[in-house]
């Protein structure tokens, strides 16, 4: 465990030291990135070692004899630690050139401070082994990420996003507190491991409470409302870490509770699969309708959390129906997708950050033609888009493939499990197709065509740190896609730590599957290279002319006359009208010489709208009625204190 604590110490000290070097901007960044990066490397090495040597590592500190701060790493923790340290490492490197405004020295230093705290607290969340430690790390994580979200607190929209995030993370934490409270009141022990002794009915209560609590962090529909606000507001490397890794701590929480509660009813799997299907499909539909590139990516995170949940749900159904293969496939697929999503989502956020940095806008429909000037970014973004759409030979395919396999195993079951497996497979297919549409939209509109507006900076790629991070992530997308064996092995280590009562998971049947993936990916690559070579050869010596698109005879085309992202998505969005109402603002064109008109469309998130109507308004009304308590007279306030003390002394 020492290496783990060393890495956390180094990461946090990197953040703290950056505060001491305020006057020297570049040195400050070097120190912060260097320390955070090296801390992450140590942590990564340590967690990889622990993943492959599955022994339980424990460490405990007593504070004031009141409660112990204790940590424990098993396979599951180690599996989550790998992406946490890896993505944070790359995000730290990326930030070196991303945070490039020497005038905002203090803001940057504060950003590094909380970044360090965020990484450390995420690592602590997945290793905590008692209630106190867990909640402490959880709160630390929520708070530090809140401060990272309000990095640009000058703008009202940013503050609003930060507030929303703050409220959501704490309402979520409240549910977790409630669940742990129920546990503690029964067991009387702070150790998480005692959860297994709860009676059946309490276990379900605890699971549902934690599912809501962790779900609000993970971004399960309809608790995802904060995601599309907070992610666009934060700096891109922070969005990458938050969307890539931090929301996965919610998934970790659900998995850990599932493992600790050791519940064997089919109900859990049904809940999780259903939640997964809803988040998956609605997430991608909303993503498709977004105009802001980072909002789109945020909704796509909701979609991917949905896929992960479907995998977990299939795994749980497999466990409850005694179908070993299905269980392992579901959980391993889900874990693999956790890792994959952390890789391609952070890649996409970093790419988006790069583009936003140069163009100075986040609106997809204001961009265009970026690929011509920013080849590396464009290519990396393309790989990320293909991976997130779940296409072979990239990593997104692998995770989803195993979840599909698990689902197909469930088709042989009876009744509910049969229906749910079918639905899961269908919704996975729908999600995949829509994700494809969503990311062809982003890539087509942002990177191809012509620039739709004048950009803030000239489009060029001169930031090696940012490019390095993206290239590493893109390369990893390909590597996992082609050689999934070792990564699947890692996921299996995580699954075996779940203790599903299956004993040691045999590797052989899975090895042949991953082997097949590798060979077909090779085949695919060979065909691709062959076609590419053929094309080069055929075009050799011929003159290639480049000209504008034929405008049907119109002689004065402008770059604004291009296919937009909104029109691309419109027909699909139209189909989902009941769940994704589109609000349009478009004064009609009339007369022979029509005046200028405009078109504005916005998709309404039904979760946001209904939450406002059903929960927020009544609560506000109630608290408005209670306003008389705050009358401004200090003497009566002290009277309240006295009253409270007396009541506490004599009645509690």
């Amino acid at each position: 465990m020492n290496l783990f604590f060393l890495s956390i110490l180094i990461i946090v000290s990197g953040g703290v030291l950056s505060l001491c070097l305020l006057t020297r901007f570049t040195q400050m960044k070097m120190v912060a990135v260097g320390l955070i990066g090296s801390g992450c490397v140590i942590g990564l090495v340590d967690s990889l070692y622990k993943l492959f040597h599955p022994v339980s590592y424990m460490a405990s500190f007593n504070y004031l004899n009141a409660f112990a701060i204790s940590f424990e790493t098993d396979g599951l923790s180690a599996f989550f630690l790998v992406p946490i340290f890896f993505v944070s490492l790359l995000a730290a490197i990326y930030s070196f050139h991303y945070m490039n405004n020497p005038g905002e020295s203090l803001k940057t230093a504060v950003n590094y401070l909380f970044f360090g705290v965020l990484i450390a607290s995420m690592a602590m969340v997945v290793t905590a082994s008692n209630i106190i430690t867990f909640l402490l790390s959880w709160e630390l994580m929520s708070l530090s990420s809140f401060f990272l979200v309000i990095h640009n607190h000058g703008s009202p929209a940013n503050r609003r996003a930060g507030y929303l995030y703050f409220v959501f993370s704490h309402v979520g934490a409240m549910f977790i507190f409630a669940a742990f409270g129920v546990m503690y009141s029964y067991t009387g022990s702070f150790d998480l491991i005692t959860a297994a002794t709860l009676p059946e009915s309490l276990k379900i209560t605890v699971f549902v409470l934690t599912f809501i609590g962790f779900g609000s962090k993970a971004g399960i529909f309809p608790l995802h409302v904060w995601l599309p606000h907070a992610h666009p507001a934060a700096p891109s490397h922070i969005s990458a870490v938050m969307s890539g890794v931090m929301i996965k701590t919610g998934i970790y929480g659900i998995l850990r509770m599932y493992m600790l509660l050791d519940l064997n009813t089919p109900l859990l799997g049904e809940i999780v699969v259903t939640a997964g299907m809803i988040s998956g499909i609605l997430g991608v539909v909303y993503a498709l309708a977004q105009h802001d590139i980072k909002r789109l990516l945020a909704y796509s995170s909701v979609e991917n959390i949905g896929i992960i949940l479907i995998g977990m749900g299939i795994g749980m159904i497999g466990v409850s129906s005694g179908n070993e293969f299905m269980a392992v496939m579901g959980f391993a697929g889900a874990l693999l997708h956790v890792m994959n999503h952390s890789i391609f989502k952070s890649l996409l956020f970093m790419g988006a950050g790069m583009v936003i940095h140069k163009t100075g806008t986040q609106a997809i429909d204001a961009m265009g033609g970026v690929l011509k000037k920013m080849k590396v970014t464009g290519f990396c973004f393309l790989i990320g888009s293909l991976a997130i759409s779940g296409l072979p030979p990239f990593n997104g395919f692998v995770g989803e493939f195993f979840i599909y396999m698990g689902g197909f195993k469930g088709v042989g079951l009876d009744k509910t499990a049969f229906v749910l497996s079918h639905l899961a497979i269908i919704s996975l297919a729908v999600i995949g197709g829509l994700a494809m549409a969503c990311f062809t939209k982003v890539f087509g509109v942002v990177f191809q065509g012509e620039a739709r507006s004048t950009y803030k900076h000239t489009l060029e790629e001169k930031e090696p740190a940012m490019l390095t991070s993206m290239i590493i992530l893109a390369a990893l997308c390909v590597v996992i896609g082609i050689f999934p064996g070792i990564f699947f092995h890692m996921a299996l280590k995580g699954v075996s730590a779940l203790g599903l009562g299956l004993g040691d998971v045999p590797m052989e049947p899975f090895l042949t599957m991953t082997g097949n993936i590798t060979s077909s990916a090779f085949l695919f690559l060979c065909i691709f290279i062959l076609i590419f070579a053929l094309r080069t050869r055929l075009f050799k010596g011929k003159i290639l002319a480049k000209a504008g698109t034929w405008g049907c005879g119109f002689t004065q085309p402008t770059p604004r006359m291009q296919y937009t992202g909104s029109s691309y998505g419109a027909s699909i969005i139209d189909f989902f009208k009941p769940v994704a109402p589109l609000k349009e603002n478009h004064p009609p064109v009339s007369g022979v010489f029509p005046k200028t008109t405009h078109y504005h469309s916005q998709i309404e998130d039904i979760a946001e709208v209904h939450m406002g109507n059903v929960i927020i308004r009544p609560v506000l009304w109630l608290f408005d009625k209670l306003r008389f308590i705050q009358h401004g007279d200090i003497h009566l306030y002290i009277g309240y204190i006295l009253l409270t003390i007396i009541v506490l002394l004599f009645f509690v």
Partner: protein, 213 residues
């Protein structure tokens, strides 16, 4: 048989009644100073072993509690030179009556507590409770901000007595912790007072109501 400790504690109780009855700030400060002195010598008469260091601590406590803090407040009201009435919300007679009732209730209630060092004096726990609640009472029933600060100090005296009652092992650590608290609190209050006075030309805390949203 008259125990010295009982005498001291009776003095504390008397000082509470006096403080409820005093209408002018300087008088109230004197009463509180007296109370501070009396309260800080209580440990000397408790049955603990008194090492020289302990006596030194007690003396320092006495110095700060009985002399420095009241002097500071006295100088402060001289400097601000504002109205010297404590501006009661609850009248003086009613206050004294309430004080008497408080002592009775405290005595009655203190029987319910099971405290090991209660054997030192039957009056110790009632006095402590009375001090705490009386401090709160002044906070509630006096409108002048300085009177409220004095009420707070009275409460702190009570907490100090609780400390001496309950903590036998780490007595001086607790004492000093409390003392530091008081010093910091008085400083903060002085700053806030200055600000209130600066804003409203008065230290009437009822004026704070205008700050309400």
């Amino acid at each position: 048989m008259i125990e010295p400790l009982d005498t001291i504690l009776s003095l504390v109780l008397l000082s509470i009644l006096f403080s409820f009855g005093s209408s002018l700030l300087p008088g109230l400060i004197e009463v509180i100073a007296f109370q501070g002195i009396v309260v800080s010598i209580v440990p000397l008469f408790l049955a603990h072993d008194m090492v020289p260091a302990g006596i030194a601590f007690t003396l320092v406590t006495l110095l700060i509690r009985g002399i420095i803090i009241p002097l500071c407040i006295y100088l402060a009201i001289k400097k601000i030179a504002i109205r010297r009435e404590v501006e009661p919300i609850i009248g003086f007679h009613a206050s004294i009556l309430a004080g008497l009732a408080l002592i009775v209730v405290a005595t009655f209630v203190s029987r319910k507590f099971d405290v090991p060092s209660i054997s030192a004096s039957a009056l110790l726990l009632p006095t402590t409770i009375t001090l705490l609640v009386a401090g709160m009472f002044i906070l509630i029933a006096r409108r002048n901000a300085i009177a409220m600060v004095l009420g707070y100090i009275m409460m702190e005296n009570g907490i100090y007595l609780v400390g001496t009652t309950f903590s036998i092992r780490a007595l001086h650590i607790v004492e000093f912790g409390i003392l530091l608290d008081v010093l910091a609190a008085v400083m903060i209050m002085a700053i806030i007072l200055q600000n209130i006075n600066h804003t409203f030309d008065d230290v009437d805390t009822a004026l704070l109501r205008t700050l309400k949203e």
